[in-house]
Symmetry: C2
């Protein structure tokens, strides 16, 4: 088991702080194992101390990783830090990309002897490269998600409501103890496929529709992320063509994703395929993102991303083409960056499936 507090402490020490206060929920969970909604972590002397409130005392003691200390304090905000850092006068790191302006002002008022070191992305960068426990959880999440999709497929028929398909898919995931949903499932059909982030509606599937399903399962907090676009009955143009363009763009992105490659270059590989086919204006988002305890985390695979891929990162490849009034296609694979080709995590086919 990786000593995450030690790794984190080293990263903050390199920025001049021997003590750090962690407030971001995903970072809190990564450091301590605690899954509750409230609490902060003080990191010092290589030890993580979780400060949470009375609603979570029992739960926190049961959940924390070895070596993590649990303290209960009913003041849930960063402003309650006063006595936990009383007497401390050196530099203390905070997470500038999570702490609010108000929380920072309260800390500066309450703990005026401390010199605050505002850091960005320190734990996000550590979390981007997954350890073996994390990869195992993500693999399990994909196994559950693939299985649930397999159970759903027979229900993808003319007349089925988007909403009921989403409920079936989610039920098949959640019946597994310890499994949750990584995010609100997207199930859109027909013209609603033009909504990259559409929510399932009461619309009924009809012959000739495209159906886009984007879903994720979690295992011990780690999420899968997968998208498939299916056809209900025979698919007409432009659906057939845009499906092939999106699939080729996704494959180009996967082929480009080697260690040391920049996120923007992976995106450019997908974008080039879609632009060459004349659909550049219909690809309205980035190509992918890292995932783990959060559905969107480092690295980014988008037009401006200078993030550099490393072995052990887990990233999505999910180009799409969206045509208002007609519909759209998105296909998404997720894989682990290795020294060789990307290791794809879903076992589901990416060829067009006719339901």
């Amino acid at each position: 088991m990786t000593d995450r507090p030690a790794a984190a402490q080293g990263a903050f020490a390199a920025l001049g702080a021997q003590v750090a206060v962690i407030t971001d929920p995903a970072n809190r969970r990564w450091l301590t194992g605690f899954t509750g909604s409230s609490g902060l972590v003080i990191l010092r002397d290589g030890v993580a101390e979780l400060i949470t409130d009375g609603r979570y005392t029992i739960q926190a003691q049961a959940e924390v990783r070895p070596g993590v200390r649990v303290t209960t304090d009913s003041r849930r905000t960063a402003g309650g830090l006063g006595e936990h850092l009383a007497g401390h006068s050196g530099p203390v790191a905070v997470e500038a990309d999570h702490l609010t302006v108000a929380q920072m002002a309260d800390l500066e008022r309450d703990l005026s002897l401390i010199s605050w070191v505002t850091t960005r992305g320190v734990l996000a960068n550590l979390r981007a490269v997954k350890d073996s426990d994390e990869l195992a959880a993500i693999r399990q999440a994909f196994a559950v998600a693939d299985g649930a999709f397999g159970e759903l497929l027979p229900e993808v028929q003319p007349g089925a409501r988007e909403l009921d398909l989403a409920l079936s898919l989610e039920g098949a995931i959640r019946r597994h103890e310890g499994c949750g949903l990584g995010f609100e499932s997207i199930v859109v059909s027909g013209p609603r496929c033009a909504l990259p982030h559409g929510q399932p509606s009461g619309r009924q599937l009809a012959v000739g529709d495209l159906v886009t399903i984007d879903w994720g399962a979690t295992v011990v907090g780690y999420t899968s992320d997968c998208t498939r676009t299916l056809a209900v009955g025979q698919l007409q143009e432009p659906g057939r063509r845009i499906y092939q363009v999106v699939k080729a763009a996704m494959e180009a992105a996967i082929a480009a994703a080697r260690p040391q490659t920049l996120g923007k270059d992976v995106h450019a590989a997908a974008r080039a395929v879609i632009e060459a086919a004349g659909y550049g204006a219909n690809f309205v988002h980035g190509t992918g993102h890292g995932l783990g305890l959060e559905i969107h985390e480092a690295p980014a695979l988008g037009a401006r991303s200078e993030d550099r891929l490393q072995v052990g990162m887990v990233v999505t490849f999910e180009p799409g083409i969206y045509i208002e009034g007609y519909g759209g296609v998105r296909i998404e694979q997720t894989g682990i960056i290795t020294e060789g080709p990307v290791e794809i995590l879903s076992g589901l086919p990416t060829e067009l499936q006719i339901c």
Copy 2:
């Protein structure tokens, strides 16, 4: 329909800013009607301008309230504000309780001519008092939630798994188009009732168990919030007694909740009942909270809350007693503050139900 941008503009103007940048998601939705996960709002000249990215262009145009302008900009962060406020040199309000330290630093770097006014709780305070559209949505959310609980009751039997009860309850909510879950349902039984925020597990109900169910439905984003603790077969002590203590505490809090009362005084009313019964140490959280677009919003009904109740606020009353190793009881009603008695929103009984 309330002119929310005008009301907000007035509140920020009173703090010296004729322009405000809104980044909090619930505030963004309240001002504009937009339900997506990404975007910010510039408020000036009484008009709200929503800036979102390409994934949401179609959706945003369909969702926004009358008078709201939609602009697409692929830079999703507050750092992308530069050109939208270019040339502006007066004071601009930001939400200090949402904007991060990093976002603030980027704004100060990119827009050095602006004097930033850091505000706290401006829109949260406006949102705390609900208008008639909001109250209608909350009433519908309770109707859906009550109905789903009624469908669930026959399944609350020895042998049923917590997880399957949660899935049934949530399915009954989500089958209604446009309805979602306000939060992850809590279904805990037996000793797990000692976890105020426990997640449903694979544990099977047994005769003699208490079962605590805490769930919420949403209608157009507004959530209900309700908790009932049931008994599976005949209930022994101390369960019977703590049920009556918690119920009396809840009723005391409801009776105390009149306009102008402070949140801490409502909490004190509940706490006094539980302390008098000897369970003070087992009541480990506040008595309640406001709810609306968020499951926890202003006002707070806790030990240190100086929030003052006003007509039109919607608040929960949810004391609990938790005994590690045994279990616990929480009962929750939600009501609207009126000139007279609180108007309770759930039609479900609060007497102990034996399943």
